[in-house]
Symmetry: C2
Subunit: 369 residues, 2 copies
């Protein structure tokens, strides 16, 4: 099958890597000719935010998908009209692209999400402190999100269309990955716990399965099913949750694609999120997602003060560790905060897993030569 992917980053790379088990042809579109997918797919250099570029790229594909949601969704709508299969569909991509539409979608579909106010500008603010400001568009990897604690913080408020959201008293951050194919089959992955880095606001550790009660587990799964039923789209979605200190879960946000919170599924589950996503694209039976014990993931992020040709300090020591899997993204240069790769770990207990993740974090550093 001729499969087109908007975006040529690491998510696309790992999708293509996984799908090399099958006989499909992958085509990628990305503005960066050195992107992670360039050498392993039929590559087109171009801007996936541009209407004409996306239209031209997509028109001869059998199925078109994304590995980043900030693409030209109008072009995808147009391609759907002329009969190209777009997964996930253009409508749900549009909804998720805009935080305002996303919040309204949750509200209209009775999906629990923190209370909010929509504002077009600063003057419209009528919401109790402290709150979270989420820009309507342009947010990614924690960018476009800030906490406004009090009147004084309003000085740094971004004067743009935004969602103001009640600040949740977070106990844990959870994520679930759910997939649906065109046959209507639906499957979830075990719920993952995300432990965030307070400074970079990028995922730091994943731990799977999450340490939560069966009730919370059931609730998260039920909300995920509610979401995918309301979305009316096949594809794979990562839904991020807050579990608050009162034991209630709230949807934080949803990605209509492969997600960092599912990376440990590469070795931790009977099949990975990449295999499952592939199966939604070609409408194959969905794969089993059972966990093999405990699995975890650690992001490899470009260290502060290093920019240039990447060097992974400590890699050799990590490669000596059993049940430890290094995944680099084929990026030649590092810069502070750049996602360069990740490391998956398997363990028999949660304690062993966390110990191993902490040890690895102390051993490895992403620097430049």
């Amino acid at each position: 099958m001729k499969i087109g992917i908007l975006g040529g980053g690491q998510l696309g790379r790992m999708l293509i890597q996984s799908a090399l088990k099958y006989d499909d042809e992958f085509y990628t579109l990305d503005p960066d000719e050195n992107c992670s997918c360039a050498n392993i797919s039929h590559f087109t250099k171009g801007n996936f935010k541009d209407y004409e570029t996306v239209l031209n790229f997509g028109k001869d594909k059998e199925v078109l998908s994304i590995e980043i949601e900030h693409v030209n969704a109008d072009a995808l709508s147009e391609l759907e009209k002329v009969g190209i299969k777009v997964i996930p569909n253009a409508n749900i991509i549009k909804i998720i692209q805009q935080k305002i539409l996303q919040k309204e979608f949750y509200k209209n579909n009775n999906i629990p999400s923190p209370n909010f106010q929509i504002v077009q500008n600063k003057d419209e603010i009528n919401f109790p402190f402290p709150f979270v400001q989420k820009l309507n568009t342009g947010g990614y990897d924690g960018k476009g999100v800030q906490i406004i604690k009090n009147e004084q913080d309003l000085d740094q408020f971004w004067d743009e269309p935004s969602v103001l959201e009640k600040l949740v008293d977070i106990d844990k951050e959870l994520s679930i990955i759910i997939a649906k194919n065109e046959r209507g089959e639906i499957k979830t992955f075990p719920i993952t716990e995300m432990v965030a880095d307070p400074i970079l606001n990028l995922l730091d550790f994943n731990i799977c399965p999450a340490d939560i009660s069966v009730e919370i587990q059931n609730e998260v799964e039920s909300i995920a099913h509610q979401f995918i039923s309301a979305a009316h789209s096949s594809g794979l979605f990562a839904i991020e949750f807050f579990l608050d200190k009162a034991g209630k879960v709230w949807v934080n946000e949803t990605a209509p694609r492969l997600h960092n919170s599912g990376h440990q599924s590469q070795e931790g589950n009977a099949n990975s999120q990449f295999e499952q996503y592939y199966r939604t694209l070609v409408n194959a039976p969905l794969a089993d997602t059972d966990s093999f014990g405990f699995s975890g993931m650690l992001n490899l992020i470009g260290a502060e003060n290093y920019t240039g040709e990447v060097f992974y300090e400590g890699l050799d020591q990590v490669m000596k560790m059993p049940k430890t899997y290094i995944h680099l993204y084929g990026k030649k240069t590092t810069k502070p905060g750049r996602k360069m790769g990740h490391i998956n770990v398997l363990a028999e207990t949660r304690e062993d897993l966390i110990e191993k993740l902490i040890l690895i974090k102390s051993l490895i550093k992403v620097i430049s030569i």
Copy 2:
């Protein structure tokens, strides 16, 4: 690292697929521009049996390897002389390429292998019936090997330099994969049992771990270590054994590369033969090879009477089965006997594994559209 591979078939493809987790650049050389590696590596069309072609291909690589042993080994010797790292080294490739040298190598190194006579032509035969004739060169996938049962069969004797080998009364065929890096680390994979198809003489099922006593296991492992020590080469080797009905093991032959008998390691072991081979190429610490329960493999071979654009009948049903992993080789056309892919299976017991393999074999057929 710039890694060159002679050959662009499925072994190379799965090596590259596995190594996409790292940041190396793969270069492949193959006469067929539609080969399995063409679209996923820097591809050079050319004959790997040709001296000048191999020399030109290899001279700017940091490490050079093979995914088929029938390459121009003289060119590899020359490249070694000018400082290119060749894994496995040219000398052991030369020995393995020629059945006569290979047999003498076993004899000289006290590696048990069936009794034999070397003949340059038919007139020199002085060996009791029945025996196996193995052509000195040109054998592959069971070609170039035949059984001569009696005087009459001599009519079909190939009048070429050959090894005549005592016919072993086979109880089981076994295989072990062993790897060594330049640091001197050595690791084996669990021993695999191979169940052959009597007609095509291509591997049919693999079952891992093999159902053998600890004594046999120890002996196979010890012979594998003896081999790799005598070979004086880093790299990965698959050593095939006969276990005879008296309980004695004999080396049948060795491949100085990735091997069909190790395919189930992709999902069946903590790390696959592809990961291990990669690690020998870049001289990284060797990976752990523990089994996750029982694993098996079934080859997908082009069915009789079908030649043309491939279609995998029954694929959808197989994709519904849990712990079942399809690996296709990116070959667009099938012909009778062509290796098109394989299917790996995991199970908790040997009985379940065999049952699943037999079921899958009954469901799937490699035909043309």
